[in-house]
């Protein structure tokens, strides 16, 4: 065997990154290229009364205008491409193309736009009040499987709640067990309300896009986490058959969920280009625009009732979440949050209720750990509060509630593939020196006080049913075609190595084809949801096994006997009984071309996707083709689990803290690529610290205007906000539902770190719990001084 699993290697795309040769969407040029700029809504909700573009279109160098009429209408509540009824500040209304960007910009400025302001809402609870404003003219909530509805709670609902979250009619709910019985048995019942802020993704590459048409095909360069999965959606936005869209996304400058699948704005240059006869159109998106239309994590207002046994076992949970949904479809964070509670803390009895309330703020989408990470940053400090009241160690209370392989997931309590969170806690506690550090917690030195925290998080981390595609060419090389995308985790490469592993290939003789749909790529899942490592190792295993079987069959045809008589080593197929009877992979590839049929891709399996079929047709005859759908067994949810450990030193005079040390521990199955796992654990940790301590979207409640439209306002962490060294570890236990034992991991690595930091802050403060993210310095100072906070309970859009 090649023994590539668990080994470090140099991913081929890294050279482009360090030399500047890597080309992102805005790095492409073509003769005759036009620039387009967008006219964005200055109001949170309005209807266009009139647009006077006459002066703009008369300007020298202005070439074309693209109006909402020119693009496919997106049925509500989908995100629009262009619209006459913008639902958030910064929603695109129209685009102008000109010979240079300055002219396009000036033309946008010259447009006279008359808007009729409509009701808007930036606070979910306001919309839920009787007579409160609706974010859309047709309602204020989206009910699963029903669509847009109006739900208002009664004044009594609000009156009864006091400072807690009111709990009126939900939009969705589930339950298992008997929570009343669970609470009745409990030695300690905590009931808490909490708020988590909405946050931007801050991808370093704004979602600029570039497109042109040639010979009936649309060529689109876009910033995309995913490759194959994005193509059909992008084709639909553009209004072109998928086979006539060439989608190029070789590099993606960060997405974190916001570029996981097709998004409407990427189609604008393609529409504009079609309108100007195919001429290339570059659309640069600015940083401020990225804050408007670059998606965001929904904030939560929640209420959590927990019942504990004296040993810390969680007997009952009653959870209610109000999700700030943005104006459109949004994302299912709230339900995912509830399911995360069910698997990380395995409450014996649980009820979940939730409602997604529409707001005139950026459309929400997935952001690393969507729902789970809000939930864990809210709940983990409250687990600590319970531990404090029960006199338990913070790690111990998590251990007793940690999942086993038999634990259930979500409302249906469906099966999972494997869970090693308890092992991660134990490994982390030992490596971090938890007991010693905990003993120094609360120690004062001058104005500095120590605090320690442990945090946990979950995300489902695997999918199945996608296709694998490999080729062995007559020069003997292995070509691995992958359609997964390149988010920056290098997992496109590490998962491709599984095909090489199956075939016993020297990695130096392998080549990865990706990043451009014209390169013959298979149908693969998107690079999101921590799924790549699990999903793509399966597809590449399936394709590798198909190629292996074909190698043996070709050897049997050439040399006699049955395929079962043959084995492979050193890129040679040989007869087990007589190893001198052998052919090289290169010879087998030549034979495959001569044999044709399924050996060379002239025939394909019936169950592969149409995209894979087209790619195989394109590659057919070029070598031995291994192609297969991943039909391997998968029984349940694949849990990615993580634990983080933090020690801080908090200055009680300034409210500032320094993170002294961090250790992240992953349960990601077998470690596929140690070096990239380390970077994910650390990078996820950095993002978690930002979520816990700094980042937030802010909207002015009076005018609905955004207050966070720059990096300095929205505050993603810098070098100076995080430790310069961060530790990592992995339990490295195989998942039984993956052929090489691998699970994904990207998302919980953020939540566990954010949760651990919040726990450490509360620990340093002797058990003061903020029930809110982010926790910023003035909140800490208020807590130390015994003053009330400057925000009201449950208030959103706070500093």
């Amino acid at each position: 065997m090649a023994e590539l699993i668990g080994k470090d290697f140099t991913p081929p795309d890294i050279f482009g990154k360090v030399t500047g040769r890597a080309r992102y969407a805005e790095d492409f040029r073509r003769d005759g290229m036009l620039f387009c700029r967008l006219l964005l809504s200055p109001m949170p909700h309005a209807r266009v009364r009139s647009i006077d573009a006459s002066a703009a279109l008369a300007m020298p160098g202005v070439v074309e205008i693209l109006l909402p009429d020119d693009v496919p209408e997106q049925p509500g509540p989908a995100n629009n491409i262009l619209t006459y009824e913008p639902h958030f500040v910064g929603e695109p209304i129209l685009a102008i193309a000109a010979v240079d960007e300055t002219t396009a910009h000036n033309a946008i400025q010259a447009i006279k736009l008359d808007l009729e302001p409509l009701d808007f809402c930036v606070d979910p609870l306001r919309s839920l009040r009787p007579g409160g404003p609706n974010a859309r003219t047709d309602g204020n909530t989206i009910v699963p499987r029903e669509g847009i509805r109006e739900i208002k709670w009664s004044q009594a609902d609000f009156d009864e709640a006091g400072t807690h979250l009111p709990m009126g009619q939900p939009g969705e709910e589930w339950a298992y067990g008997d929570i009343d019985a669970g609470f009745a048995e409990s030695a300690l019942v905590l009931e808490e309300s909490f708020v988590t802020a909405s946050t931007s993704h801050h991808s370093m590459e704004p979602r600029s896009a570039f497109a042109y048409w040639e010979n009936g095909k649309c060529y689109l360069h876009a910033s995309s986490q995913s490759q194959a999965l994005t193509l059909p959606g992008a084709a639909e936005y553009i209004g072109v058959e998928p086979e006539n869209l060439v989608f190029i996304a070789e590099y993606c400058g960060g997405g974190f969920g916001s570029k996981g699948s097709a998004y409407p704005v990427m189609s604008i240059p393609a529409h504009m280009s079609r309108k100007v006869g195919g001429r290339p159109v570059m659309m640069r998106i600015s940083r401020a625009e990225e804050y408007f239309l670059g998606s965001a994590r929904p904030g939560f207002q929640g209420r959590l009732k927990m019942g504990f046994r004296t040993d810390g076992r969680l007997l009952a949970v009653d959870l209610y979440i109000v999700q700030e949904n943005g104006p459109n479809q949004g994302f299912g964070d709230l339900g995912s949050a509830a399911s995360a509670v069910s698997i990380v803390y395995t409450p014996v009895n649980m009820r979940y209720r939730g409602i997604a309330i529409l707001t005139n703020t950026p459309p929400r989408g997935a952001q690393r750990g969507p729902g789970q990470n809000q939930m864990h940053t809210a709940m983990e400090p409250l687990i600590d509060k319970a531990a404090r009241e029960l006199g338990l160690d913070q790690v111990a209370i998590r251990r007793i509630n940690a999942p086993t392989h038999e634990s259930g997931y979500g409302g249906s309590q469906g099966p999972i593939s494997s869970a090693y969170l308890r092992e991660a806690l134990d490994m982390g506690a030992e490596q971090f020196g938890w007991a010693e550090r905990r003993a120094r917690s609360g120690q004062r030195e001058g104005s500095k006080v120590r605090g320690v925290g442990v945090g946990q998080a979950f995300h489902s981390a695997g999918s199945n049913g996608f296709d694998g595609l490999v080729r062995i060419t007559p020069d003997g090389r292995l070509h691995i075609h992958t359609g997964v995308g390149n988010l920056g985790t290098y997992s496109y490469a590490s998962t491709s190595r599984v095909a090489a592993e199956v075939l016993g290939y020297d990695w130096a003789n392998c080549e990865i084809h990706r990043g451009d749909s014209s390169r013959g790529l298979p149908w693969n899942n998107g690079q999101f949801g921590s799924n790549t490592s699990f999903t793509m190792t399966r597809t590449n295993y399936a394709a590798g096994m198909d190629a292996l079987q074909k190698l043996k069959e070709i050897a049997a045809l050439e040399l006699g006997g049955s395929s079962r008589d043959y084995d492979v080593a050193n890129e040679v197929v040989f007869q087990r009984a007589n190893p001198s009877r052998r052919i090289t992979y290169a010879q087998a590839a030549t034979a495959a071309i001569e044999l044709g049929g399924r050996y060379s891709g002239r025939e394909v399996p019936d169950d592969i996707n149409a995209m894979t079929r087209r790619s195989v047709e394109q590659l057919a005859g070029s070598g031995l083709v291994g192609v297969a759908r991943d039909n391997l067994e998968r029984r349940g949810t694949v849990p990615a689990l993580a634990a983080g450990f933090v020690e801080i030193e908090l200055d009680v005079e300034t409210g500032r803290y320094e993170i002294l040390d961090y250790l992240g521990v992953a349960d990601c199955g077998v470690v596929l690529h140690p070096q990239s796992l380390a970077t994910q654990i650390r990078g996820g940790g950095v993002m978690g610290f930002g979520m816990a301590g700094a980042e937030r979207h802010v909207y002015d409640p009076r005018w609905g205007l955004p207050g966070s439209v720059g990096l300095h306002q929205a505050k993603p962490p810098s070098y100076l906000d995080v430790p310069s060294e961060m530790g990592w570890a992995a339990v490295d236990q195989a998942d039984p539902e993956n052929p090489v034992g691998v699970k994904g991991i990207g998302e919980p690595l953020m939540g566990c770190a954010g949760a651990a930091l919040l726990c450490a802050i509360s620990d340093a403060l002797g058990g003061f719990y903020f029930n809110r993210t982010p926790v910023v310095a003035d909140m800490i100072i208020n807590a130390i001084a015994g003053r009330s906070q400057s925000h009201r309970p449950l208030q959103v859009n706070t500093q």
């Binding site: 009364r49 573009a53 006459s54 693009v71 002219t103 990096l711």
Partner: protein
Amino acid sequence: MSDSDLSGFGPAGTTRGLPTAMAAAQAPEIILADARSTSWSRRDFIKGIVASGATVAGLSYFGAGCTTPLPAQTAGGVERLISLDVNGQTRRVDVLPGETLAMTLRYKLGLTGTKLGCDRAECGACTVLIGGVTHYSCSTLTHRVRGREITTVEGLAGPNGELHPVQQAFVAELSPQCGFCTPGQVMAAVALLDRNPNPTREEARVAMSGNLCRCGAYHNYLDGVMRAAREA
């Protein structure tokens, strides 16, 4: 406005979920004016830009094929055709008075390794060296750096194309993730090691702090800087 008028617009947002009559009453008025019927010939267009001098930069976005004679100076008296010293080469380039170095590098000199992450001096993706010192090229006017030694990420490789020690170290430490901030991180590290070949990790952390990385790869970038210092 009648229904037949509406059909010409077929507006997306306004008709959704609204009764037709109401939508018709609220369909937006779109004035594109007769500018659309004015056909701007290439001749008119070039005459226009020669007269105004306002949009020549646009033409030069399309590469070196700008055949239009340039005025020696703009109305404001700034010489437009200037020489820049970029990566050891003298490059003649037509630069507008308000043009940033990042735009000149990316759109006129084909040096797209310099990235634009924010275009407002917040993120550092556009970091280049001017006289060996890090600058945010998004917030540097090109006219201000005439005659100065400008180094971009494309200018670091050795004569035979071998990677700079910082680039080699970033590969060895798997420092980049998405890679968009990487050219800026490389330039910041190069500038640091040029003036301080043996920095402490803390000195490196401070020196690199003008460069944001949303992937949070700070640890691995610092590992790269320290490795480059050891191995250079």
